[in-house]
């Protein structure tokens, strides 16, 4: 995966060693990363590069530092977590709806909004598409878990 990155893991680690956190946060690669764990697994110095990527992503969101090119992935991950907080289990249709709407409001790209729309009937034909998603029963506990995980006093 590192081949197509503007700043592959090795470069990000070096930037951080030199204290250039802002430059690391501007790298497209932190949101291009697919978390395949290859960098951390093969690092000859046992650096947990994949963990560093996670830390950089969290820092990027906390600081609102995501660049416009990075935004789409950020919005997807946020929509995913919102969905889990509400339902306990992923509702794919709702996720796609929230993601498409938030990217549209952000970038006003009509072509991205409509992209993959033809996939819905194909999935329906294969009984892989659920209009009503599953939900966990105890969703109140999820709200509390999410609230506590946002609270610095825990963990």
């Amino acid at each position: 995966m590192a081949a197509g990155m503007d700043a592959p893991p090795t470069r990000l680690i070096r930037l951080l060693q030199l204290g250039h956190v802002e430059a690391a946060l501007r790298a497209q690669s932190i949101w291009q990363c697919v978390s395949c764990q290859t960098c951390a697994t093969r690092c000859p110095k046992s650096v947990d590069c994949a963990g560093v990527m996670d830390a950089l992503r969290q820092l990027s969101v906390e600081r609102g530092a995501a660049t416009p090119e990075q935004q789409r992935t950020v919005l997807f991950q946020k929509a995913f977590l919102n969905n889990i907080r509400r339902n306990g289990r992923l509702n794919e249709l709702e996720l796609i709806g929230e993601f498409k709407l938030s990217t549209f409001l952000h970038g006003r790209s009509l072509s991205f909004l409509l992209k993959d729309a033809t996939l819905a009937p194909e999935l329906m034909k294969r009984k892989k598409f659920h209009l009503v998603g599953e939900k966990a029963r105890d969703r109140a506990v999820l709200a509390r878990i999410f609230a506590r995980c946002r609270d610095e006093s825990h963990l």
């Binding site: 992923l90 999820l142 878990i145």
Partner: protein
């Protein structure tokens, strides 16, 4: 054998064909799956990308649910789920303060002593000899590229499964089913994982390389044990073909599909007919299958 079952969101969503085939196989092999009551999502990439605490808490709640429901072992057939569960288990096992605070967060005592198995490990536990003895239709026409992807073997210190550079466990299972396997280069490369929606180009590029390499090494199908790998290699294959102007026509099977076919199930009973790339002529006993006929479903038609 009784086993707790953590399906995860994918297997109850658009990857319900994976659940269909693994349930069919396991029932025949006398494995009773007991779904963990009121399980929740493991958080997947979104949690570990956005909130480290959630990335531990969400899987930890599922571990605690399984433990409280009296299970010592669980099957998590999605490698993302099983890796997240194992990561949380390892984190609380190594840090008592974290174990206590996590238990408070998830409102259940997390002991972290439940074993988490992926599907390959479950077949190994059932035993290759037993599997071999149960084969009714050896897969003589199959020449499979076993594809492990990322999270079955990585991070190795978390999942502690097989050789992380040269895994062989799926090849051994395929061997027991009478199928041939090929040596190829992309067995542990990434398919693009959860980027399907947010960055399709990443998926197209990585998955195209995987399909091309498997083909170049003589494979007539790919075998996966991950719902995301299946989505990217099967559902996205028509897009890959359009984008690169090639014809892969490469059927993608779940590991439980090939076990099921060898056990004598009809493809429809396994959900194989619900894949995007048609694989009708590769099925059991059809050793005269002509490669030219393969994968007519890649144009988007429902496989038969």
């Amino acid at each position: 054998m009784n086993l707790a079952y953590y399906p995860g969101c994918a297997l109850h969503g658009s990857s319900n064909d994976y659940e269909q085939s693994l349930r069919a196989c396991l029932q025949t092999l006398d494995v009773q799956l007991k779904e963990i009551d009121d399980w929740i999502c493991c958080g997947a990439t979104a949690a570990h990308s956005l909130n480290q605490k959630l990335a531990i808490a969400l899987p930890a709640r599922n571990l605690a649910l399984a433990e409280n429901q009296g299970y010592r072992e669980m099957l998590a057939p999605c490698p993302m789920c099983s890796m997240q569960l194992l990561k949380a288990r390892k984190a609380v096992a190594e840090d008592e303060a974290l174990r206590r605070s996590t238990s408070e967060i998830v409102e259940l005592e997390v002991r972290g002593d439940t074993q988490v198995l992926n599907l390959i490990q479950l077949f190994e536990k059932i035993g290759l000899d037993r599997l071999k003895a149960a084969v009714k239709a050896p897969l003589s026409s199959m020449c499979a590229a076993c594809y492990y992807g990322c999270l079955l073997t990585r991070p190795p210190e978390v999942v502690e499964f097989d050789d992380f550079e040269q895994p062989r466990s799926m090849e051994k299972i395929l061997g027991a089913l009478g199928a041939k396997t090929v040596d190829w280069n992309y067995r542990t490369e990434c398919c693009g994982a959860g980027m399907t929606m947010a960055s399709e180009q990443t998926v197209l590029e990585l998955s195209h390389k995987i399909l091309s390499n498997a083909q170049a090494h003589g494979a007539n199908c790919l075998v996966v044990a991950c719902p995301m790998c299946h989505v990217n290699l099967d559902m996205k294959q028509p897009n890959i073909e359009r984008h690169y102007g090639v014809k892969h026509a490469m059927p993608i099977y779940y590991l439980s599909d090939v076990v099921g076919l060898a056990l004598g199930f009809k493809p429809e009973a396994l959900g194989v007919n619900r894949h995007f790339v048609c694989s009708a002529d590769l099925q059991v006993g059809m050793s005269d299958a002509s490669p030219a006929k393969r994968g007519t479903g890649a144009t988007g038609k429902v496989g038969t």
